[in-house]
Subunit: 253 residues, 2 copies
DNA sequence: GAGTGGTCTAGACCACAGA
DNA sequence: CTGTGGTCTAGACCACTCG
């Protein structure tokens, strides 16, 4: 087995979790330092540190090295994959896209950095786009924030042969986003595929998303194809696993 | 940030990972003990222990307490959610279902325990099935194995008013599985929804799936509805996160 | 510089597996 | 009984943040 003797650090984690649930420590508030918690709970600091990693895994706390440990203020974000590409969704309300709409629904303030760039396709991307390795692609790199907390990285790849000279190469591709432009260019996406893996963050992801090695990301690879089966976009999306809930819906046939 | 000074244990993890990748330690093989690794690599055992937890998170190794640490022998299993309910998929080849087919495709030997049971619906299940809390439901509990390694837990709930007196209450519901029976009973599922969360395993899951608290599970809640929008089945699926790759596909409209 | 969390070493005890 | 990994304490050093 693996779990019979629970370990003191789990008791400590339970006690701190209870304090958070009961409002002793409020959302966004700084917890006592590990030394203080160790004193109060009568254990060594290393045990408190391990307990806090449990809460970190659960997404209950957030750590700023050199500053302290905070109670998480961002609720779990729901991402409904199916439907988010629809024009109505993309243009709904004040939102500039599905991501914006989801965050506003939770009372959060979305923010997003975009960097379009012409580059050459790595092997995995080229394979999925069915182009030659090293061929030119447009890479649109996005970092998304909720209340200034980073919650998503995404890199969208589109063959340069499609994107060249179009608004797709701009930071803001215009109303309805990139999918609307692809539609107008005669490359309307008709079928979407998403493939998911859960893994520890790599160094770049840990840095950008402020994650510790004890946390996980959900790596989503989305491929958009035309009705002719031609892949027109590959999107590599990285989400802090504790911050998201994903949903999918499809017909039986 | 969180990751600038990499930490010695990550170097140790890299070295052990390299040894596994290069075949120094083979699939299914027992690694040297933590004491031995600590001696060879010139670090304290606690550092080796922490390094092994990194590899555990990546799914590269498996730990049997009291015995040792083994190189994982099960490859990542792919689960294509869309299409697995189709009759052709369910009845394909020698397989008794989509799960069987997926494992056989990887050269693994599937095995599965099923325990049907009449019970009363918990709040979350009742809400999704749109029945009264505490109303009777059929619960079909499954534990699935690949080469005798547990790889999935699932509990399928069907209102007792539908299941009573049908083959659904049997351990083997017959050809094509439960969905075929629902179809014949006039409750053919027409729309499926899956909602995913990543979290640490609870005590029961850790025990059944032989997981350590440092690992994660993907908790999938699937709801099957008829074309009239009536929920007929709720399935709570728990997967060791490091062992699976999930995929979904859907049309743009 | 003082305070924070991240990590490492040292040594110890425990729970579990198997001879 | 011995050997394994899991955990705890003690004490130390480091990197980062902020005044």
């Amino acid at each position: 087995m693996s779990n019979t003797a629970r370990g003191q650090y789990r008791e400590v984690a339970d006690r701190i979790r209870d304090s958070i649930d009961q409002g002793v420590y409020q959302r966004g508030e700084l917890l006592p330092t590990e030394d203080q918690l160790a004193d109060r709970l009568g254990v060594h600091r290393a045990t408190v540190n391990k307990a806090l990693k449990v809460l970190l895994a659960e997404g209950l706390v957030r750590v700023h090295r050199g500053k302290g440990t905070y109670v998480t203020e961002i609720p779990v974000i729901h991402r409904a994959a199916v439907g988010r590409q629809r024009r109505e969704t993309r243009e709904a309300g004040q939102a500039r896209g599905a991501f914006d709409a989801e965050l506003r629904a939770l009372g959060l303030t979305p923010r997003s950095d975009v960097t379009p760039e012409r580059t050459s396709a790595a092997a995995e991307v080229a394979e999925k786009l069915e182009i030659d390795e090293g061929a030119d692609v447009l890479a649109r790199r996005r970092t998304m924030f909720a209340n200034d907390v980073p919650v998503q990285l995404a890199v969208s790849y589109i063959p340069w042969s499609i994107a060249e000279g179009t608004p797709l190469t701009e930071a803001d591709p215009g109303p309805g986003g990139a999918y609307s432009r692809l539609e107008e260019l005669g490359h309307a996406p008709a079928v979407f595929t998403e493939t998911l893996r859960v893994r520890p963050p790599d160094a770049h992801e840990a840095d950008k998303l402020k994650l510790s090695p004890d946390q996980r990301v959900i790596a989503v690879t989305r491929v958009a194809r035309t009705s002719a089966g031609q892949a027109v976009e590959v999107n590599n999306i990285v989400l802090p696993a504790h911050q998201w809930e994903l949903s999918y819906e499809w017909p039986a046939d």
